[in-house]
Subunit: 272 residues, 2 copies
Amino acid sequence: MGQGSTQAASAAVCTPATPAEVRAMIRDGYTGYTGGKAPGYVQANICILPKDYAEEFLLFCQRNPAPCPLLERADQGSYRLPRLGKEIDIRTDLPRYHVFRDGVFCEEVTDIRDLWSNELVTFALGCSFSFEEALREAGLPMRFMDRGGVAGVYQTDIETQPAGRFHAKLVVTMRPFAPADAIRAIQVTSRFPNVHGAPVHIGDPAAIGVDLSRRYRDVGSDEILPYELPLFWACGLTPQLAVANAKPPLCITHAPSSMLVTDIRNASLASF
Amino acid sequence: MGQGSTQAASAAVCTPATPAEVRAMIRDGYTGYTGGKAPGYVQANICILPKDYAEEFLLFCQRNPAPCPLLERADQGSYRLPRLGKEIDIRTDLPRYHVFRDGVFCEEVTDIRDLWSNELVTFALGCSFSFEEALREAGLPMRFMDRGGVAGVYQTDIETQPAGRFHAKLVVTMRPFAPADAIRAIQVTSRFPNVHGAPVHIGDPAAIGVDLSRRYRDVGSDEILPYELPLFWACGLTPQLAVANAKPPLCITHAPSSMLVTDIRNASLASF
Protein backbone atom coordinates (compact mmCIF):
# COMPACT_ATOMS: atom_id res chain seq x y z
CA MET A 1 0.00 0.00 0.00
CA GLY A 2 2.87 2.36 -0.78
CA GLN A 3 2.63 5.65 -2.65
CA GLY A 4 3.44 3.96 -5.95
CA SER A 5 0.44 1.69 -5.96
CA THR A 6 -1.87 4.51 -4.87
CA GLN A 7 -0.79 6.50 -7.90
CA ALA A 8 -1.43 3.49 -10.11
CA ALA A 9 -4.88 3.23 -8.61
CA SER A 10 -5.58 6.92 -9.26
CA ALA A 11 -4.63 6.47 -12.88
CA ALA A 12 -7.06 3.57 -13.19
CA VAL A 13 -9.90 5.85 -12.03
CA CYS A 14 -9.93 7.61 -15.38
CA THR A 15 -10.95 4.60 -17.46
CA PRO A 16 -13.86 2.23 -16.93
CA ALA A 17 -12.57 -0.90 -15.24
CA THR A 18 -14.04 -4.37 -14.83
CA PRO A 19 -15.12 -5.37 -11.33
CA ALA A 20 -12.18 -7.81 -11.13
CA GLU A 21 -9.79 -4.98 -12.05
CA VAL A 22 -11.27 -2.74 -9.35
CA ARG A 23 -10.97 -5.48 -6.75
CA ALA A 24 -7.36 -6.12 -7.80
CA MET A 25 -6.66 -2.40 -7.51
CA ILE A 26 -8.11 -2.41 -3.98
CA ARG A 27 -6.10 -5.50 -3.03
CA ASP A 28 -3.11 -3.58 -4.36
CA GLY A 29 -3.68 -0.68 -1.98
CA TYR A 30 -6.44 1.61 -3.27
CA THR A 31 -8.27 3.01 -0.22
CA GLY A 32 -10.64 5.55 -1.84
CA TYR A 33 -14.30 5.52 -2.70
CA THR A 34 -15.78 2.89 -5.00
CA GLY A 35 -18.55 5.19 -6.33
CA GLY A 36 -18.22 5.44 -10.12
CA LYS A 37 -15.82 2.45 -10.33
CA ALA A 38 -16.81 -0.42 -12.67
CA PRO A 39 -19.90 1.40 -13.92
CA GLY A 40 -22.86 -0.90 -14.62
CA TYR A 41 -21.99 -3.34 -11.85
CA VAL A 42 -23.63 -3.86 -8.47
CA GLN A 43 -21.77 -2.59 -5.41
CA ALA A 44 -22.70 -4.22 -2.12
CA ASN A 45 -22.92 -3.14 1.51
CA ILE A 46 -21.06 -5.62 3.70
CA CYS A 47 -21.87 -6.73 7.23
CA ILE A 48 -19.75 -9.42 8.91
CA LEU A 49 -21.02 -10.91 12.17
CA PRO A 50 -20.17 -13.71 14.61
CA LYS A 51 -22.06 -16.93 13.88
CA ASP A 52 -24.18 -16.52 17.03
CA TYR A 53 -25.75 -13.42 15.48
CA ALA A 54 -26.00 -14.67 11.90
CA GLU A 55 -29.40 -16.34 12.03
CA GLU A 56 -31.07 -13.38 13.71
CA PHE A 57 -29.51 -10.95 11.24
CA LEU A 58 -30.65 -13.11 8.32
CA LEU A 59 -34.17 -12.96 9.75
CA PHE A 60 -33.86 -9.18 10.24
CA CYS A 61 -33.01 -8.87 6.53
CA GLN A 62 -35.88 -11.16 5.54
CA ARG A 63 -38.34 -9.07 7.54
CA ASN A 64 -37.01 -5.72 6.29
CA PRO A 65 -36.14 -6.19 2.62
CA ALA A 66 -36.40 -2.48 1.76
CA PRO A 67 -33.51 -1.32 4.00
CA CYS A 68 -31.77 -4.77 3.99
CA PRO A 69 -31.98 -6.23 0.47
CA LEU A 70 -29.86 -9.34 0.94
CA LEU A 71 -27.80 -10.27 -2.13
CA GLU A 72 -25.71 -13.05 -0.55
CA ARG A 73 -24.76 -14.72 2.72
CA ALA A 74 -21.42 -16.49 2.72
CA ASP A 75 -20.89 -19.87 4.36
CA GLN A 76 -19.76 -19.59 7.97
CA GLY A 77 -16.02 -18.93 8.13
CA SER A 78 -15.73 -18.44 4.36
CA TYR A 79 -14.24 -15.24 3.02
CA ARG A 80 -15.42 -16.15 -0.48
CA LEU A 81 -18.62 -14.94 -2.18
CA PRO A 82 -18.49 -16.96 -5.42
CA ARG A 83 -21.94 -15.94 -6.60
CA LEU A 84 -20.88 -12.27 -6.50
CA GLY A 85 -17.41 -12.74 -8.03
CA LYS A 86 -15.22 -15.80 -8.49
CA GLU A 87 -12.01 -14.67 -6.79
CA ILE A 88 -13.50 -12.33 -4.14
CA ASP A 89 -11.69 -12.35 -0.80
CA ILE A 90 -13.84 -10.29 1.56
CA ARG A 91 -10.84 -9.82 3.91
CA THR A 92 -8.94 -7.69 1.39
CA ASP A 93 -11.37 -6.55 -1.33
CA LEU A 94 -12.92 -3.48 0.31
CA PRO A 95 -10.93 -0.23 0.29
CA ARG A 96 -11.74 0.46 3.96
CA TYR A 97 -13.59 -1.39 6.73
CA HIS A 98 -15.28 -0.18 9.91
CA VAL A 99 -14.84 -2.33 13.00
CA PHE A 100 -17.47 -2.27 15.75
CA ARG A 101 -17.13 -3.96 19.14
CA ASP A 102 -20.22 -4.37 21.32
CA GLY A 103 -22.06 -2.17 18.83
CA VAL A 104 -19.60 0.71 19.12
CA PHE A 105 -17.34 1.94 16.29
CA CYS A 106 -13.68 1.26 17.14
CA GLU A 107 -11.47 1.74 14.12
CA GLU A 108 -11.17 2.00 10.36
CA VAL A 109 -8.84 -0.52 8.68
CA THR A 110 -7.94 -1.39 5.09
CA ASP A 111 -7.58 -5.15 5.57
CA ILE A 112 -9.27 -7.58 7.99
CA ARG A 113 -7.08 -10.67 7.66
CA ASP A 114 -5.92 -10.18 11.26
CA LEU A 115 -9.54 -10.08 12.46
CA TRP A 116 -10.76 -13.04 10.45
CA SER A 117 -11.90 -16.28 12.11
CA ASN A 118 -13.96 -19.33 11.26
CA GLU A 119 -16.69 -17.93 13.48
CA LEU A 120 -17.58 -15.08 11.10
CA VAL A 121 -20.47 -14.90 8.63
CA THR A 122 -20.48 -12.34 5.78
CA PHE A 123 -23.64 -10.68 4.45
CA ALA A 124 -23.72 -8.66 1.20
CA LEU A 125 -26.64 -6.24 0.79
CA GLY A 126 -27.79 -4.23 -2.22
CA CYS A 127 -26.99 -0.52 -2.16
CA SER A 128 -28.46 2.62 -3.66
CA PHE A 129 -25.55 3.08 -6.11
CA SER A 130 -27.39 0.64 -8.41
CA PHE A 131 -30.65 2.58 -8.53
CA GLU A 132 -28.81 5.92 -8.66
CA GLU A 133 -27.17 4.67 -11.86
CA ALA A 134 -30.62 3.81 -13.23
CA LEU A 135 -31.95 7.25 -12.24
CA ARG A 136 -28.99 8.94 -13.91
CA GLU A 137 -29.44 6.87 -17.06
CA ALA A 138 -33.11 7.91 -17.09
CA GLY A 139 -31.94 11.52 -17.22
CA LEU A 140 -33.19 12.40 -13.74
CA PRO A 141 -31.00 15.15 -12.29
CA MET A 142 -29.36 14.68 -8.88
CA ARG A 143 -27.44 17.83 -8.00
CA PHE A 144 -25.61 16.24 -5.07
CA MET A 145 -24.01 13.74 -7.49
CA ASP A 146 -22.90 16.49 -9.86
CA ARG A 147 -20.99 17.91 -6.90
CA GLY A 148 -19.45 14.55 -6.00
CA GLY A 149 -21.63 14.27 -2.90
CA VAL A 150 -24.18 11.78 -1.67
CA ALA A 151 -27.89 11.86 -0.81
CA GLY A 152 -28.93 13.25 2.57
CA VAL A 153 -29.37 10.56 5.25
CA TYR A 154 -32.01 10.73 7.99
CA GLN A 155 -33.27 8.58 10.83
CA THR A 156 -37.08 8.26 10.79
CA ASP A 157 -39.50 7.38 13.58
CA ILE A 158 -40.59 4.27 11.61
CA GLU A 159 -39.81 1.08 13.56
CA THR A 160 -38.50 -1.78 11.41
CA GLN A 161 -39.59 -5.36 12.13
CA PRO A 162 -37.30 -6.63 14.90
CA ALA A 163 -35.60 -10.04 14.78
CA GLY A 164 -34.06 -11.27 18.03
CA ARG A 165 -31.54 -8.72 19.24
CA PHE A 166 -31.69 -6.73 16.00
CA HIS A 167 -34.03 -3.75 15.93
CA ALA A 168 -33.75 -0.21 14.56
CA LYS A 169 -35.63 2.84 13.41
CA LEU A 170 -35.63 3.01 9.63
CA VAL A 171 -32.84 5.14 8.18
CA VAL A 172 -33.58 6.75 4.81
CA THR A 173 -31.84 8.68 2.06
CA MET A 174 -33.49 11.78 0.60
CA ARG A 175 -33.37 12.84 -3.04
CA PRO A 176 -35.38 15.85 -4.21
CA PHE A 177 -37.06 15.93 -7.63
CA ALA A 178 -39.43 18.15 -9.56
CA PRO A 179 -42.92 16.53 -9.55
CA ALA A 180 -42.82 14.85 -12.98
CA ASP A 181 -39.28 13.62 -12.28
CA ALA A 182 -40.46 12.32 -8.89
CA ILE A 183 -43.07 10.17 -10.63
CA ARG A 184 -40.42 8.90 -13.06
CA ALA A 185 -38.00 8.23 -10.17
CA ILE A 186 -40.65 6.08 -8.46
CA GLN A 187 -41.12 4.12 -11.70
CA VAL A 188 -37.39 3.64 -12.26
CA THR A 189 -36.52 2.55 -8.72
CA SER A 190 -39.57 0.26 -8.49
CA ARG A 191 -37.77 -1.92 -11.02
CA PHE A 192 -34.99 -2.58 -8.48
CA PRO A 193 -36.44 -4.23 -5.35
CA ASN A 194 -33.06 -5.86 -4.63
CA VAL A 195 -31.39 -2.48 -4.16
CA HIS A 196 -33.97 -0.73 -1.91
CA GLY A 197 -36.67 -0.45 -4.61
CA ALA A 198 -39.28 2.31 -4.60
CA PRO A 199 -39.24 5.18 -2.11
CA VAL A 200 -40.93 4.59 1.23
CA HIS A 201 -42.18 8.18 1.48
CA ILE A 202 -42.76 11.32 -0.58
CA GLY A 203 -43.49 14.83 0.59
CA ASP A 204 -43.78 16.04 4.18
CA PRO A 205 -40.64 14.91 6.08
CA ALA A 206 -42.38 15.35 9.46
CA ALA A 207 -44.85 12.58 8.55
CA ILE A 208 -42.01 10.07 9.04
CA GLY A 209 -40.35 11.93 11.91
CA VAL A 210 -37.68 13.62 9.81
CA ASP A 211 -36.32 17.14 10.32
CA LEU A 212 -34.40 17.90 7.12
CA SER A 213 -31.92 20.13 8.97
CA ARG A 214 -30.84 17.20 11.18
CA ARG A 215 -29.01 14.68 9.01
CA TYR A 216 -27.93 11.28 10.34
CA ARG A 217 -24.18 11.50 11.05
CA ASP A 218 -24.22 14.74 8.98
CA VAL A 219 -24.16 12.65 5.80
CA GLY A 220 -25.18 14.09 2.42
CA SER A 221 -27.07 17.01 0.98
CA ASP A 222 -30.35 18.40 2.33
CA GLU A 223 -30.94 20.94 -0.45
CA ILE A 224 -34.48 21.07 -1.84
CA LEU A 225 -35.56 23.73 -4.32
CA PRO A 226 -38.99 25.35 -3.89
CA TYR A 227 -40.66 23.40 -6.71
CA GLU A 228 -39.20 20.04 -5.66
CA LEU A 229 -40.62 17.20 -3.58
CA PRO A 230 -38.37 15.18 -1.27
CA LEU A 231 -38.40 11.42 -1.92
CA PHE A 232 -37.20 9.07 0.81
CA TRP A 233 -35.69 5.63 0.17
CA ALA A 234 -34.89 2.95 2.75
CA CYS A 235 -31.14 3.06 3.44
CA GLY A 236 -28.45 0.47 4.09
CA LEU A 237 -27.38 2.32 7.23
CA THR A 238 -30.49 0.82 8.88
CA PRO A 239 -28.81 -2.57 9.47
CA GLN A 240 -25.75 -0.76 10.90
CA LEU A 241 -28.10 0.91 13.39
CA ALA A 242 -29.59 -2.53 14.17
CA VAL A 243 -26.05 -3.82 14.80
CA ALA A 244 -25.43 -0.93 17.19
CA ASN A 245 -28.55 -2.01 19.05
CA ALA A 246 -27.75 -5.74 19.00
CA LYS A 247 -24.20 -5.07 20.33
CA PRO A 248 -22.41 -8.15 18.96
CA PRO A 249 -18.86 -8.50 20.36
CA LEU A 250 -17.53 -7.95 16.82
CA CYS A 251 -19.00 -6.55 13.64
CA ILE A 252 -17.14 -5.49 10.51
CA THR A 253 -18.78 -3.38 7.80
CA HIS A 254 -17.68 -1.48 4.72
CA ALA A 255 -16.71 2.15 5.35
CA PRO A 256 -19.12 4.67 3.76
CA SER A 257 -18.92 4.65 -0.04
CA SER A 258 -16.25 1.94 0.11
CA MET A 259 -18.21 -1.06 -1.09
CA LEU A 260 -17.66 -4.52 -2.47
CA VAL A 261 -17.63 -4.25 -6.28
CA THR A 262 -19.36 -7.37 -7.61
CA ASP A 263 -19.56 -9.10 -11.00
CA ILE A 264 -23.37 -8.74 -11.07
CA ARG A 265 -24.70 -6.25 -13.58
CA ASN A 266 -27.09 -3.60 -12.23
CA ALA A 267 -29.41 -4.24 -15.18
CA SER A 268 -29.68 -7.92 -14.22
CA LEU A 269 -31.46 -6.88 -11.01
CA ALA A 270 -34.28 -5.09 -12.84
CA SER A 271 -37.53 -6.91 -12.17
CA PHE A 272 -39.24 -5.86 -15.39
CA MET B 1 -87.31 2.66 -22.93
CA GLY B 2 -90.40 2.42 -20.73
CA GLN B 3 -90.45 2.07 -16.96
CA GLY B 4 -90.46 -1.72 -17.26
CA SER B 5 -87.12 -2.03 -18.99
CA THR B 6 -85.52 0.50 -16.65
CA GLN B 7 -86.55 -1.64 -13.68
CA ALA B 8 -85.15 -4.72 -15.40
CA ALA B 9 -81.91 -2.82 -15.89
CA SER B 10 -81.83 -1.81 -12.23
CA ALA B 11 -82.27 -5.43 -11.17
CA ALA B 12 -79.35 -6.44 -13.38
CA VAL B 13 -77.12 -3.95 -11.54
CA CYS B 14 -76.99 -6.25 -8.50
CA THR B 15 -75.21 -9.14 -10.21
CA PRO B 16 -72.03 -9.06 -12.27
CA ALA B 17 -72.89 -9.13 -15.94
CA THR B 18 -70.84 -9.93 -19.02
CA PRO B 19 -70.01 -7.02 -21.34
CA ALA B 20 -72.42 -8.46 -23.95
CA GLU B 21 -75.18 -8.56 -21.33
CA VAL B 22 -74.54 -4.94 -20.35
CA ARG B 23 -74.62 -3.83 -23.98
CA ALA B 24 -77.86 -5.78 -24.52
CA MET B 25 -79.32 -4.09 -21.43
CA ILE B 26 -78.35 -0.68 -22.83
CA ARG B 27 -79.82 -1.53 -26.25
CA ASP B 28 -82.95 -2.51 -24.32
CA GLY B 29 -83.27 0.94 -22.76
CA TYR B 30 -80.88 1.30 -19.81
CA THR B 31 -79.77 4.96 -19.68
CA GLY B 32 -77.78 5.06 -16.42
CA TYR B 33 -74.08 5.01 -15.62
CA THR B 34 -71.83 2.17 -16.75
CA GLY B 35 -69.45 2.48 -13.77
CA GLY B 36 -69.35 -0.83 -11.90
CA LYS B 37 -71.03 -2.73 -14.75
CA ALA B 38 -69.21 -5.81 -16.13
CA PRO B 39 -66.39 -5.54 -13.57
CA GLY B 40 -62.99 -6.50 -14.92
CA TYR B 41 -63.68 -5.24 -18.44
CA VAL B 42 -62.42 -2.13 -20.20
CA GLN B 43 -64.88 0.71 -20.70
CA ALA B 44 -64.06 3.15 -23.47
CA ASN B 45 -64.52 6.86 -24.10
CA ILE B 46 -66.09 7.39 -27.50
CA CYS B 47 -65.54 10.22 -29.98
CA ILE B 48 -67.27 10.17 -33.38
CA LEU B 49 -66.15 12.69 -35.99
CA PRO B 50 -66.73 13.52 -39.65
CA LYS B 51 -64.15 11.92 -41.96
CA ASP B 52 -62.58 15.29 -42.73
CA TYR B 53 -61.47 15.53 -39.11
CA ALA B 54 -60.54 11.87 -38.58
CA GLU B 55 -56.91 11.96 -39.69
CA GLU B 56 -56.10 15.05 -37.61
CA PHE B 57 -57.80 13.55 -34.57
CA LEU B 58 -55.87 10.30 -35.02
CA LEU B 59 -52.66 12.33 -35.08
CA PHE B 60 -53.77 14.28 -32.00
CA CYS B 61 -54.19 10.95 -30.17
CA GLN B 62 -50.83 9.69 -31.39
CA ARG B 63 -49.11 12.85 -30.13
CA ASN B 64 -50.92 12.86 -26.77
CA PRO B 65 -51.19 9.23 -25.65
CA ALA B 66 -51.58 10.08 -21.95
CA PRO B 67 -54.90 11.95 -22.30
CA CYS B 68 -55.90 10.17 -25.55
CA PRO B 69 -54.97 6.47 -25.25
CA LEU B 70 -56.44 5.16 -28.48
CA LEU B 71 -57.87 1.63 -28.20
CA GLU B 72 -59.55 1.45 -31.60
CA ARG B 73 -60.56 3.46 -34.66
CA ALA B 74 -63.46 2.07 -36.67
CA ASP B 75 -63.49 2.00 -40.44
CA GLN B 76 -65.11 5.08 -41.97
CA GLY B 77 -68.88 4.74 -41.90
CA SER B 78 -68.81 1.56 -39.82
CA TYR B 79 -70.74 1.42 -36.57
CA ARG B 80 -68.96 -1.82 -35.66
CA LEU B 81 -65.89 -2.18 -33.46
CA PRO B 82 -65.20 -5.93 -33.83
CA ARG B 83 -61.89 -5.88 -31.97
CA LEU B 84 -63.68 -4.47 -28.89
CA GLY B 85 -66.76 -6.70 -29.04
CA LYS B 86 -68.22 -8.82 -31.84
CA GLU B 87 -71.78 -7.48 -31.98
CA ILE B 88 -71.11 -3.87 -30.90
CA ASP B 89 -73.29 -1.27 -32.62
CA ILE B 90 -71.91 2.10 -31.60
CA ARG B 91 -75.21 3.77 -32.60
CA THR B 92 -77.16 2.06 -29.80
CA ASP B 93 -74.69 0.61 -27.29
CA LEU B 94 -74.02 3.66 -25.12
CA PRO B 95 -76.60 4.61 -22.47
CA ARG B 96 -76.40 8.31 -23.41
CA TYR B 97 -74.59 10.37 -26.03
CA HIS B 98 -73.59 14.03 -26.17
CA VAL B 99 -73.98 15.77 -29.50
CA PHE B 100 -71.78 18.75 -30.38
CA ARG B 101 -72.21 20.99 -33.42
CA ASP B 102 -69.39 23.35 -34.38
CA GLY B 103 -67.74 22.43 -31.08
CA VAL B 104 -70.75 23.42 -28.96
CA PHE B 105 -72.82 20.99 -26.90
CA CYS B 106 -76.35 20.70 -28.33
CA GLU B 107 -78.22 17.78 -26.83
CA GLU B 108 -78.07 14.50 -24.96
CA VAL B 109 -79.62 11.50 -26.72
CA THR B 110 -79.87 7.77 -26.01
CA ASP B 111 -79.54 6.56 -29.59
CA ILE B 112 -77.71 8.02 -32.62
CA ARG B 113 -79.20 5.98 -35.48
CA ASP B 114 -80.84 9.17 -36.79
CA LEU B 115 -77.51 10.98 -36.79
CA TRP B 116 -75.48 8.22 -38.40
CA SER B 117 -73.93 8.55 -41.84
CA ASN B 118 -71.22 6.95 -43.92
CA GLU B 119 -69.12 10.07 -43.31
CA LEU B 120 -68.52 9.31 -39.63
CA VAL B 121 -65.45 7.76 -38.00
CA THR B 122 -65.58 6.32 -34.48
CA PHE B 123 -62.68 6.47 -32.02
CA ALA B 124 -62.60 4.45 -28.77
CA LEU B 125 -60.19 5.66 -26.08
CA GLY B 126 -59.10 4.08 -22.80
CA CYS B 127 -60.63 5.53 -19.63
CA SER B 128 -59.64 5.79 -16.00
CA PHE B 129 -62.25 3.24 -14.86
CA SER B 130 -59.67 0.56 -15.76
CA PHE B 131 -56.90 1.92 -13.58
CA GLU B 132 -59.33 2.82 -10.79
CA GLU B 133 -60.26 -0.85 -10.68
CA ALA B 134 -56.57 -1.74 -10.39
CA LEU B 135 -56.11 0.86 -7.63
CA ARG B 136 -59.11 -0.52 -5.76
CA GLU B 137 -57.86 -4.09 -6.10
CA ALA B 138 -54.49 -2.94 -4.73
CA GLY B 139 -56.37 -1.78 -1.62
CA LEU B 140 -55.77 1.93 -2.25
CA PRO B 141 -58.63 3.93 -0.75
CA MET B 142 -60.58 6.42 -2.90
CA ARG B 143 -63.19 8.11 -0.74
CA PHE B 144 -65.03 9.67 -3.69
CA MET B 145 -65.75 6.17 -5.03
CA ASP B 146 -67.08 4.97 -1.67
CA ARG B 147 -69.61 7.79 -1.97
CA GLY B 148 -70.52 6.87 -5.55
CA GLY B 149 -68.75 9.96 -6.90
CA VAL B 150 -65.93 10.54 -9.35
CA ALA B 151 -62.45 12.07 -9.20
CA GLY B 152 -62.18 15.86 -9.35
CA VAL B 153 -61.52 17.20 -12.87
CA TYR B 154 -59.33 20.23 -13.62
CA GLN B 155 -58.03 22.10 -16.62
CA THR B 156 -54.26 22.71 -16.40
CA ASP B 157 -52.09 25.30 -18.11
CA ILE B 158 -50.15 22.50 -19.85
CA GLU B 159 -50.51 22.71 -23.63
CA THR B 160 -50.91 19.36 -25.37
CA GLN B 161 -49.22 18.73 -28.73
CA PRO B 162 -51.55 20.16 -31.36
CA ALA B 163 -52.48 18.31 -34.56
CA GLY B 164 -54.15 20.32 -37.28
CA ARG B 165 -57.25 21.97 -35.90
CA PHE B 166 -57.11 19.97 -32.67
CA HIS B 167 -55.43 21.64 -29.69
CA ALA B 168 -56.25 21.84 -26.00
CA LYS B 169 -54.89 22.48 -22.56
CA LEU B 170 -54.45 19.20 -20.71
CA VAL B 171 -57.42 18.23 -18.53
CA VAL B 172 -56.58 16.08 -15.50
CA THR B 173 -58.33 14.09 -12.79
CA MET B 174 -57.17 14.44 -9.18
CA ARG B 175 -57.04 11.64 -6.63
CA PRO B 176 -55.56 12.28 -3.19
CA PHE B 177 -53.51 9.63 -1.37
CA ALA B 178 -51.42 9.33 1.79
CA PRO B 179 -47.71 9.38 0.79
CA ALA B 180 -47.02 5.61 0.83
CA ASP B 181 -50.29 4.99 -1.04
CA ALA B 182 -49.32 7.69 -3.54
CA ILE B 183 -46.11 5.79 -4.34
CA ARG B 184 -48.11 2.57 -4.72
CA ALA B 185 -50.69 4.35 -6.91
CA ILE B 186 -47.90 5.50 -9.24
CA GLN B 187 -46.63 1.91 -9.47
CA VAL B 188 -50.09 0.44 -10.11
CA THR B 189 -51.16 2.95 -12.77
CA SER B 190 -47.75 2.81 -14.50
CA ARG B 191 -48.75 -0.71 -15.54
CA PHE B 192 -51.63 0.69 -17.64
CA PRO B 193 -50.29 3.07 -20.30
CA ASN B 194 -53.33 2.32 -22.49
CA VAL B 195 -55.69 3.84 -19.93
CA HIS B 196 -53.85 7.08 -19.06
CA GLY B 197 -50.94 5.35 -17.24
CA ALA B 198 -48.95 7.04 -14.48
CA PRO B 199 -49.89 10.45 -13.08
CA VAL B 200 -48.55 13.51 -14.87
CA HIS B 201 -48.10 15.48 -11.64
CA ILE B 202 -47.93 15.09 -7.88
CA GLY B 203 -48.12 17.77 -5.19
CA ASP B 204 -48.52 21.50 -5.69
CA PRO B 205 -51.58 22.07 -7.94
CA ALA B 206 -50.42 25.60 -8.86
CA ALA B 207 -47.35 24.14 -10.57
CA ILE B 208 -49.63 22.93 -13.38
CA GLY B 209 -51.98 25.90 -13.24
CA VAL B 210 -54.68 24.21 -11.15
CA ASP B 211 -56.77 25.85 -8.43
CA LEU B 212 -58.39 22.95 -6.58
CA SER B 213 -61.49 25.00 -5.76
CA ARG B 214 -62.21 25.52 -9.47
CA ARG B 215 -63.17 22.18 -10.96
CA TYR B 216 -63.70 21.70 -14.69
CA ARG B 217 -67.48 21.65 -15.31
CA ASP B 218 -67.86 21.19 -11.51
CA VAL B 219 -67.09 17.48 -11.94
CA GLY B 220 -65.98 15.33 -9.01
CA SER B 221 -64.55 15.64 -5.53
CA ASP B 222 -61.82 18.09 -4.50
CA GLU B 223 -61.42 16.82 -0.93
CA ILE B 224 -57.82 16.38 0.25
CA LEU B 225 -57.00 15.52 3.86
CA PRO B 226 -54.06 17.29 5.54
CA TYR B 227 -51.67 14.32 5.30
CA GLU B 228 -52.52 13.55 1.66
CA LEU B 229 -50.83 14.48 -1.61
CA PRO B 230 -52.90 15.22 -4.72
CA LEU B 231 -52.01 13.06 -7.74
CA PHE B 232 -53.05 14.24 -11.20
CA TRP B 233 -53.72 11.95 -14.15
CA ALA B 234 -54.29 12.93 -17.77
CA CYS B 235 -58.03 12.82 -18.45
CA GLY B 236 -60.20 11.75 -21.37
CA LEU B 237 -62.00 15.10 -21.29
CA THR B 238 -58.89 16.57 -22.95
CA PRO B 239 -59.91 15.34 -26.44
CA GLN B 240 -63.41 16.74 -25.87
CA LEU B 241 -61.80 20.11 -25.20
CA ALA B 242 -59.76 19.68 -28.38
CA VAL B 243 -63.01 18.99 -30.26
CA ALA B 244 -64.50 22.18 -28.84
CA ASN B 245 -61.48 24.02 -30.24
CA ALA B 246 -61.52 22.25 -33.63
CA LYS B 247 -65.26 22.99 -34.07
CA PRO B 248 -66.21 20.14 -36.41
CA PRO B 249 -69.76 20.51 -37.78
CA LEU B 250 -70.74 17.35 -35.88
CA CYS B 251 -69.17 15.40 -33.03
CA ILE B 252 -70.80 12.70 -30.92
CA THR B 253 -69.28 11.50 -27.65
CA HIS B 254 -70.34 9.34 -24.71
CA ALA B 255 -72.08 11.23 -21.91
CA PRO B 256 -70.05 11.38 -18.67
CA SER B 257 -69.76 7.95 -17.00
CA SER B 258 -71.83 6.40 -19.82
CA MET B 259 -69.19 4.48 -21.68
CA LEU B 260 -68.84 1.71 -24.20
CA VAL B 261 -68.44 -1.57 -22.28
CA THR B 262 -65.96 -3.71 -24.24
CA ASP B 263 -65.00 -7.40 -24.22
CA ILE B 264 -61.37 -6.55 -23.40
CA ARG B 265 -60.26 -7.45 -19.90
CA ASN B 266 -58.64 -4.66 -17.86
CA ALA B 267 -55.88 -7.08 -16.81
CA SER B 268 -55.00 -7.71 -20.46
CA LEU B 269 -53.89 -4.06 -20.74
CA ALA B 270 -51.28 -4.38 -17.97
CA SER B 271 -47.85 -3.88 -19.50
CA PHE B 272 -45.97 -5.94 -16.90
